[in-house]
C-alpha cells in the first residue's frame, strides 16, 4: 500500500517488517527519526524487538555486534560523526562476519559543524569491509533495507544502507509498503551461521597468529567478490515479489553517449532531469547511477562506460590530497582498459550545498570543452573569493 513517508520512516518501516530482533542506537541528526520511530514500535509491541539505549555510537555498534554474535537479526543507524565514532567496530563487525544492517545518513563531518548532505562520512569507511548501497529515493531506501537483510545473512557481511541527509531522510515521498506476509516470504526468520551457545561455549574473536590471519581476510574478499552475483540473483526474486529492481548500477542512455555523468544519491534524481534537458538541446549525454559502492561493481561500470568518450564523475565528497572518491575508484577500474575514456573529476554539493540542474549542466559543458581532465578534482559552485 502506498504511503507518503519521510525517507527515515521508509527505513524504520523496512526494519519493522523485517522483524528485526535487537536494535541499539544513539541519536544524531538527521538519522534520529529512524530510531525514534523504531523505539515507538518496540514500546508499543508493534515490533517485538529489544531496544538497547546506549550512550554513544561506539557502544551502539558494540551492542549489535554482541547481539548478532548471539544469532539474532540486528539494526542500528547513524550519521556523520556518529559513524566516525564507531569506526574501529566497523572493522570488527566485518571481520567477525556478522550480518548487521545499518542505515547511514550521509552527513558532513565537522568542523565546521554541518548536518547536511556530504558523502565523505560513509566513503571514509570504505575500507572497513562493509557492503555499501547508495539510495536515490524513499522507495529505494525501503527496498534496499529489506534486501540488505537477505543479502547480509546469506554472505555474512555487514551492510550500510546509505541515504542523503535531509534531501532524502527528511523528504516525504510516496513509498509502496508491502504486507507483512509478502515481506516474510522475502526475508524469512534468520538462520544464523554464528551463534554463541552457552550449552557449547566458545570464545569469538580471539588471537589469530600470522599463520592463519591472511586466510581469514582472503575469505572476506572472496565473499565480497561473490556479492554482485548474489545481489543480481536476489534482485530477481525481489522483482518477482515486489515488482521493482535497481541493479548494482543503473545506466541511462549510455549506449550512444559521448559524455556520461556519473552520480549517486539524490543527485541522481536531479541528473535525470538534467539529462532530459541536455538531450533536448541535442547533447549526446548519458548517466550512470552508482548504487553499489562496495564491492565496487567493476564489471558493470566498465560495461556502461567503455563506449563513452569522456566520463564526468560528480563527487559529493573529497579525500583531501587525492580528490573525489568515486572518481578515484572509477579511474582505477578503467585504467587497464585499452583506449578507456578519460575521467573528469568534479566535486560539488558538499555540506548540503545544492546540486542543481544548472550545476550538472555546467559540469557537462565544461567536460565537453576540455580535451584532457585536470589532474586534480575541479570544485564546482564555490563562492568567488572577494
Amino acid at each position: 500500500m502506498k504511503q507518503v513517508l519521510e525517507g527515515s520512516h521508509a527505513v524504520s518501516e523496512a526494519v519493522r517488517l523485517a522483524r528485526v530482533q535487537v536494535v541499539s542506537a544513539y541519536p544524531i541528526t538527521p538519522q534520529t527519526h529512524i530510531v525514534e520511530a523504531i523505539s515507538e514500535h518496540c514500546s508499543s509491541g508493534r515490533l517485538a524487538a529489544r531496544f538497547m539505549c546506549v550512550e554513544s555510537e561506539h557502544s551502539a555498534m558494540a551492542s549489535v555486534i554482541g547481539a548478532a554474535s548471539g544469532g539474532v537479526r540486528t539494526f542500528t543507524a547513524t550519521s556523520g560523526q556518529g559513524l566516525a565514532y564507531m569506526h574501529e567496530l566497523l572493522h570488527w563487525a566485518s571481520g567477525a562476519r556478522l550480518p548487521i544492517v545499518m542505515a547511514e545518513v550521509n552527513r558532513a563531518l565537522a568542523p565546521g559543524w554541518n548536518i547536511w548532505v556530504d558523502q565523505t562520512d560513509s566513503l571514509s569507511q570504505r575500507d572497513t569491509g562493509w557492503i555499501q548501497f547508495y539510495c536515490e529515493d524513499g522507495q529505494e531506501v525501503f527496498d534496499t533495507t529489506l534486501m540488505a537483510y537477505r543479502l547480509a545473512e546469506e554472505i555474512n557481511l555487514p551492510i550500510m544502507v546509505i541515504l542523503d541527509a535531509f534531501f532524502l531522510s527528511h523528504t516525504y515521498e510516496p513509498v509502496d509498503i508491502p504486507d507483512q506476509e509478502l515481506v516474510d516470504r522475502f526475508v524469512p526468520p534468520m538462520e544464523p551461521k554464528i551463534r554463541l551457545d552457552t550449552a557449547d561455549p566458545h570464545a569469538l574473536g580471539q588471537m589469530v597468529p600470522p599463520g592463519a590471519y591472511m586466510e581469514m581476510r582472503y575469505d572476506i574478499q572472496q565473499a565480497m567478490e561473490r556479492v554482485p552475483f548474489l545481489y543480481r540473483q536476489m534482485e530477481g526474486i525481489f522483482a518477482e515479489l515486489f515488482g521493482r529492481a535497481y541493479g548494482d548500477v543503473e545506466a541511462v542512455q549510455c549506449d550512444d553517449a559521448d559524455i556520461v555523468l556519473v552520480v549517486s544519491g539524490t543527485a541522481t534524481g536531479t541528473c535525470r532531469q538534467a539529462l532530459s534537458d541536455l538531450r533536448s538541446q541535442g547533447q549526446k549525454v548519458g548517466m550512470l547511477k552508482i548504487k553499489m559502492f562496495r564491492p565496487f561493481p567493476d564489471e558493470s561500470i566498465r560495461r556502461a562506460l567503455n563506449g563513452a568518450a569522456k566520463i564526468a564523475v560528480v563527487d559529493r565528497n573529497c579525500s583531501f590530497g587525492a580528490g573525489g572518491i568515486f572518481a578515484q575508484e572509477i579511474r582505477s577500474t578503467l585504467c587497464n582498459l585499452e583506449n578507456g575514456p578519460p575521467v573528469f573529476s568534479y566535486i560539488a554539493g558538499l555540506g548540503g550545498r545544492d546540486i542543481t540542474v544548472d550545476t550538472l549542466e555546467e559540469i557537462y559543458y565544461r567536460t565537453k570543452a576540455l580535451e584532457q581532465p585536470d589532474m586534480q578534482s575541479v570544485w564546482i559552485g564555490l563562492e568567488p573569493e572577494t
Binding site: A96, K193, L204, Q206, M207, P209
Partner: protein
C-alpha cells in the same frame, strides 16, 4: 594467549573461534592496587554520642524491618524512643545527604522505630554476656544512670539503681516538660532496662556514708546523680526569684500553678527554654533574659525557634542586677551588655556592661535557670587520691574499687545522648579494668571508637576482634557517587502550629506513618556499608566479583582498575596498595 583456533568452515565462514577459556589469562597479575570492602564509618554514627550504627538502622527501616532497626539501635542506646523525642540530633548536622538535598530525618525515624515497640514483656534480642558474679551500684536513675545499668547488665553485672525521687528517670521524668517527652514513653523504655535485670530502688537518696560501706556489697559504683543544686543569681533581692528546675519538677509532679502576667526567665540553656515554654502554656507571657547574644545560647536552636513561635520573647545582652518588690510584682533592674570582641576561657563571647545603660522591667515573677551544680562533694572526683582517668564522658577513679562518674556531673555537653554515652563508657571502662587492669582501659576503649571517637561501640567491645571494629575513617560526601541518587524532598512528620501548641502540655509532633518512615529512611546513602546494591559485581570488567554469603573478589582476575570503588554509591569500598596475591 594462543588457544587452539578452530576454522569454522560452515558455509565457508572463516572466523576465529576458540574453545580455550579466556580464564587462562590471569589478569590479576597486572594489579598494583586492590579494592577492599572497607566498611568505613558514616559521619552520622561518629557524631552520635552513643555511636549508633545509623546506616544499618536506616537500611533496615527502609525495608520495613523496624524490629531489626530497633535491635540495631538497642545495641548502642537503650533509649530510642526517648532520644527520638529529645535528642538534638548531631547526626543530622553531619549527614552527607545534606550536600545533595537535605539531611535525613534520622531523629524522626528513631522516634518512629522506638515508639513502634509496644510489646509489654519485650526482651530485646541483643547480645548479653553471662552473669559474672559482680555487682554494681548505680547512683541516680537519670539517663546516664539508667544507661549505665543497661550496659552493665549486658556485660553480665548485677545492677542496683538508687534513685532519690519517687519515680525513676531523672531530668527525663522531672525536668523535661511532657510536651517534649510524655511520661508513658519513658516508662516503657525504663521497663526494658528492668527486664534485663536492673533493680531500681526509688525514694532512696544516697549519702556519703553509703560510699564508705558500698565496697562490702558492690564491686563498682557508677555515680550519675546529675546537678541537683541550682545556681543562684546572687544579686540583691534574689530570694524572690523562683528556681526554674524546681518549677519544672512541680509541673511534672502534677502541680501546675497559675502564672499570669509577665514572667522573666534568667538563663539561656534548655532549662530556660523549657521554663519559658511551660509558662506560655500556663497563661503567662515569658521574657527570657540572656547575658550574651541569642547565637551564644546553649539551648538547642530548634527549641529556641519553637519558643519564639509560641510567643516567648528573648532579650539578649541583658543581665539582672537587682530585684525589688513592686505593687504588681517585681521590679527587675536590668543591665545592658555588649560583646567586646574577645572570648572567655571556655570559648564563649565575652560580654561587658555598657555604662549607664540600665532599665527596670516590671514583671509578675522571676525564674532563674542559669545552671546547676553537684549537690554533694562526694559526687565530684577528688584529685590526688588514687588513680584517676578522665575519659571523654566519664571520670574513673580507683580508691580500693572502681568508681565512675558520668552524665551532667562530668560531661561538656549536657544532653541526654551524651548521658547515654557516659553510661556506656563507664560500663566498658570498669569492665576493661576488671578484665585487664587499669593500664588496659584506655587502649581497650580506643579500639571500640566509632570513627575517631569519642563515641564508643559496645558491639565492638563484645566482639573483641578486628573485623568488628568500626573503621577509623569517615565517609565524606566526595566518597558518594551521586549519579545513583535522585534528589528527593526530606519528609518530616507534621508539627502543630504555635497556637495549638500553646494550648496544652500535649505532644505537638505527629509521627511518621510506616510508609513515610520507610520512604524517608530510603533517602539514606547508607554511607560506608554494603547494602547489596550489586554495582561492584555488575560493573567489574573482569566479572571478578561474586556473591555467596558475602561478597568476594576473585584476585586471580582483579586488575585493580578501581571501577567497583568508583561505582559503589556509598563509599563502602576503598583502594589499597596490593601485593601480588592470587586466589579469592
Amino acid at each position: 594467549m594462543a588457544g587452539k583456533i578452530e576454522k569454522d568452515r560452515e558455509g565457508r565462514l572463516h572466523i576465529s573461534r576458540s574453545s580455550i577459556s579466556s580464564r587462562i589469562n590471569k589478569t590479576g597479575s597486572w594489579r598494583y592496587l586492590k579494592p577492599v570492602y572497607a566498611g568505613r564509618t558514616a559521619p552520622c554514627s561518629a557524631a552520635c554520642p552513643a555511636g549508633e550504627d545509623v546506616p544499618h538502622i536506616e537500611h533496615l527501616a527502609s525495608q520495613g524491618q523496624f524490629r531489626g532497626a530497633l535491635d540495631t539501635i538497642l545495641k548502642e542506646n537503650p533509649f530510642p524512643a526517648v532520644c527520638g523525642h529529645v535528642c538534638f540530633h548531631p547526626c543530622e548536622s553531619a549527614c552527607n545527604r545534606s550536600c545533595l538535598d537535605a539531611p535525613l530525618a534520622i531523629n524522626a525515624i528513631e522516634r518512629f522505630v522506638g515508639c513502634s515497640d509496644t510489646e509489654e514483656k519485650m526482651l530485646p534480642l541483643i547480645q548479653t554476656v553471662p552473669p559474672n558474679g559482680r555487682r554494681v551500684a548505680v547512683i541516680g536513675s537519670g539517663p546516664s544512670g539508667l544507661s549505665a545499668a543497661y550496659f552493665f547488665c549486658r556485660l553480665g553485672y548485677r545492677c542496683d539503681v538508687y534513685e532519690s525521687e519517687k519515680e525513676p528517670g531523672g531530668l527525663l521524668r522531672w525536668g523535661i516538660p511532657s510536651y517534649r517527652l510524655p511520661a508513658a514513653i519513658l516508662k516503657h523504655e525504663i521497663k526494658r532496662i528492668e527486664n534485663l535485670g536492673a533493680q531500681i530502688y526509688c525514694g532512696r537518696k544516697v549519702s556519703a556514708s553509703f560510699l564508705r560501706t558500698a565496697e562490702e556489697r558492690y564491686h563498682a559504683i557508677f555515680i550519675g546523680c546529675g546537678l541537683a543544686r541550682p545556681i543562684r543569681m546572687q544579686i540583691a533581692g534574689d530570694v524572690q526569684a523562683l528556681d526554674g528546675l524546681t518549677f519544672l519538677k512541680d509541673i511534672r509532679n502534677g502541680n501546675r500553678g497559675a502564672f499570669s502576667g509577665v514572667s522573666a526567665i534568667i538563663g539561656g540553656g534548655n532549662a530556660a527554654i523549657d521554663v519559658a515554654r511551660s509558662l506560655v502554656r500556663l497563661g503567662s507571657h515569658p521574657i527570657i533574659l540572656y547575658r550574651r547574644r541569642v547565637e551564644d545560647m546553649p539551648a538547642f536552636e530548634l527549641e529556641i525557634g519553637m519558643a519564639q513561635q509560641e510567643g516567648v520573647d528573648i532579650r539578649e545582652l541583658t543581665t539582672p542586677v537587682r530585684m525589688d518588690k513592686s505593687a504588681r510584682g517585681i521590679a527587675l533592674r536590668l543591665q545592658k551588655m555588649a560583646t567586646d570582641g574577645f572570648e572567655t576561657d571556655s570559648g564563649r563571647a565575652r560580654v561587658i556592661p555598657i555604662r549607664g545603660e540600665r532599665e527596670t522591667l516590671p514583671v509578675q515573677q522571676v525564674f532563674t535557670a542559669i545552671g546547676a551544680e553537684a549537690e554533694n562533694p562526694w559526687q565530684q572526683p577528688k584529685n590526688g587520691s588514687g588513680s584517676i582517668l578522665h575519659l571523654s564522658h566519664c571520670t574513673l577513679t580507683t580508691v580500693g574499687f572502681p568508681i565512675a562518674r558520668g552524665g551532667d556531673l562530668v560531661n561538656q555537653v549536657l544532653s541526654v545522648s551524651d548521658a547515654v554515652a557516659s553510661g556506656k563508657q563507664a560500663a566498658m571502662a570498669i569492665d576493661s579494668y576488671f578484665q585487664g587492669g587499669w593500664a588496659s582501659v584506655e587502649k581497650r576503649l580506643a579500639d571500640c571508637r566509632v570513627g575517631q571517637g569519642p563515641a564508643l561501640s559496645l558491639e565492638s567491645y563484645l566482639m573483641n576482634d578486628v573485623s568488628h571494629q568500626r573503621h577509623p575513617q569517615l565517609v565524606g560526601y566526595h566518597d558518594i557517587n551521586t549519579a545513583y541518587f535522585l534528589p528527593a524532598d526530606r519528609a518530616e512528620p507534621m508539627v502543630a502550629g504555635p497556637k495549638e501548641r500553646r494550648a496544652s502540655f500535649s505532644e505537638y509532633r505527629s509521627d511518621f506513618t510506616t510508609r513515610s518512615a520507610a520512604d524517608e529512611a530510603g533517602r539514606c546513602f547508607n554511607c560506608g556499608i554494603c547494602n547489596d546494591c550489586d554495582n561492584c559485581r555488575l560493573f567489574c570488567p573482569e566479572t571478578a566479583v561474586s556473591v555467596e554469603d558475602t561478597r568476594r573478589i576473585d584476585m586471580d582476575y582483579c586488575k585493580g582498575c578501581g571501577v567497583c570503588v568508583v561505582e559503589c554509591p556509598r563509599g563502602a569500598m576503598t583502594m589499597e596498595e596490593a601485593e601480588h596475591e592470587t586466589g579469592s
